[in-house]
Amino acid sequence: MIWETVAIYAVAFCLIVGAAFSLIGSIGLLKFNDAMTRLHAPTKVGTVGIGALLLASMIHAQIFSDGALHDLLIMAFLFVTAPISANFIAKVNIHKGSCTAPPPPPEDDTWSTLDVPETDRALMPETEALN
């Protein structure tokens, strides 16, 4: 009985935390004034916000019906895919020039880029060398 009461309060706490993170992330999306800083805020919605809401759903299912842990699937999927989509959106921002350009490479043009160093070009296969 006492554990049920504690679990219901835990559901309420998780709901408030998840909703607060969703709201704060969207406020950040609306209020920040640079494309890359705007990218930073909604990633919290995808991890902590939805994570807390799904945790509340799991605890709720544990109390009021036979327990169901399959909400973990949504959480795992979102945790895996959030960095990938954020990386793609950052590439779009760089491509469209809506942020300050990344600094030039310090030593040569092949540092941290897709360019192949001069000495390694003979080792490349023919198909890649054409590119």
């Binding site: 309060y9 909703a19 969207s26 990218l39 799904l54 509340a56 949504i74 793609f88």
Partner: protein
């Protein structure tokens, strides 16, 4: 027990209102977004907030049938975000 249930009901209402306001804010950014990246990001946030609303609806109804809806919308949202970004970056989705 009844007090705890009342607290949970109030928390559920607060969560519904907060996530709905977050959805409206993301839609404002989708409309005014100065560049393509902001619009893709706003759409991604709207999909995630929609998943949150569906999870809240599942808690309010106390049923499990909303799980599949949330999972499919999560997968579809990720694929559509990547497709939009690839279309902007490469001019084509599948090369």
């Amino acid at each position: 027990m009844t007090l705890a249930m009342d607290v949970m009901t109030v928390a559920l209402w607060i969560a519904f209102i907060a996530v709905a306001v977050a959805q409206v804010m993301a839609m404002i950014r989708l409309i005014i977004g100065p560049d393509t990246g902001d619009r893709i990001l706003a759409l991604d946030t709207m999909v995630i907030n929609a998943i949150g609303l569906i999870v809240l609806l599942g808690i309010a109804h106390g049923s499990h049938i909303y799980f599949e809806v949330a999972l499919i919308i999560a997968m579809l949202g990720f694929v559509s975000t990547v497709a939009y970004a690839r279309f902007v970056l490469r001019g084509d989705i599948i090369e």
